[in-house]
Amino acid sequence: MHWNSASEFFAMGGYALYVWGSLGVTALALVVEPILVARRRLNVVNRLKRELRAEELETTAARKSA
């Protein structure tokens, strides 16, 4: 183990802003991107579902009027 205390670890020898600014933004990006991708897929599924339902309604309506 390299550090003597937690505060020493977080201070990063005076480079805290730079080290944690790098690691923090990277971690944030790698957490947010998969969430956005999952939402994108969900949005596609929901849109296709609506389209399919609209299509089915149209065909039943057409059948009734015929």
Binding site: W3, Y15, T26, A29, V44, L48, K49, L52
Partner: protein, 246 residues
């Protein structure tokens, strides 16, 4: 026969469930390698004799920069496959990788700026390495804008593939920029021909982080390509059946 198999999985209908099954494996590997790499990088690796603890940015900066170049090469490969074999999946794969590549190019620039400020005294210089990496970021953004601006997806794939293949010339420029031009940026961290000069724990921490980013990229590209497949294959029977069940 092996060719036949490859093209079997190149069909979106077979690749969609395959990507879904494989994705958790890559997520798990990304977390595993990432945890090991961070442990080595933040807790085990010794202090650098010149840069103190500030050098620890290397554990995200170098892997992110590598990924930004790898992903572009992978996209150019899929672009070439798209132009030569005219397979639908190749265009979708290129599009699925683009945002992640842009993200890593951004992270490379961001962590580089945060590293440059304490070590060089400046966030940014217009030198060869930094400028060519910025050009790479713009290539990603340009590719995404180009593909999004063309309504016909097959034509968008073709136009995007041409841009990718032209832009690939930038990759060796980035890689060799530190040798070709005088620059503030240090030379390659790892050389194919020389034994690495850094401490073993530093090296392993960096390599594990790079592996983690690799696995992350595969996992997120699989997730994104599944969304793209559903959207672009929406008129096929299998997608309609799948949506009806969902």
């Amino acid at each position: 026969m092996s060719n036949l198999n490859l093209f079997h999985y190149a069909a979106p209908a077979t690749f969609y469930p395959l990507a879904g099954r494989l994705r958790p494996l890559f997520v798990a590997l990304a977390i595993l390698f990432g945890a090991a790499g961070l442990w080595l990088g933040l807790f085990v690796a010794p202090t650098d004799f010149q840069q103190g603890e500030g050098y620890r940015i290397i554990f995200v900066h170098v892997p992110a920069s590598w990924m930004s170049m790898f992903i572009y090469c992978a996209m150019a490969f899929w672009g070439a496959m798209n132009l030569v074999f005219n397979t639908r999946l190749s265009g979708m794969m290129a599009q699925a990788l683009a945002p992640t590549g842009a993200l890593f190019a951004f992270l490379s620039l961001w962590t580089g700026a945060l590293w440059g400020k304490p070590m060089w005294g400046t966030w940014w210089v217009w030198d060869a390495r930094l400028t060519s990496e910025l050009v790479l970021f713009f290539l990603y953004v340009g590719y995404m804008a180009l593909v999004a601006s063309i309504d016909d997806p097959r034509r968008a794939d073709k136009a995007g593939a041409v841009l990718l293949l032209v832009g690939v010339v930038n990759i060796p420029i980035i890689y060799f920029s530190v040798q070709w031009w005088s620059t503030l940026h240090q030379g390659a961290s790892i050389s194919m021909t020389k034994a690495p000069s850094m401490a073993h724990t530093m090296l392993w921490g960096m390599l594990l982080m790079a592996l983690s980013f690799w696995m992350y990229t595969i996992a997120v590209a699989f997730a994104r390509v599944r969304a793209i497949i559903l959207d672009r294959e929406r008129h096929t029977d299998w997608v309609r059946a799948l949506v009806r069940q969902a």
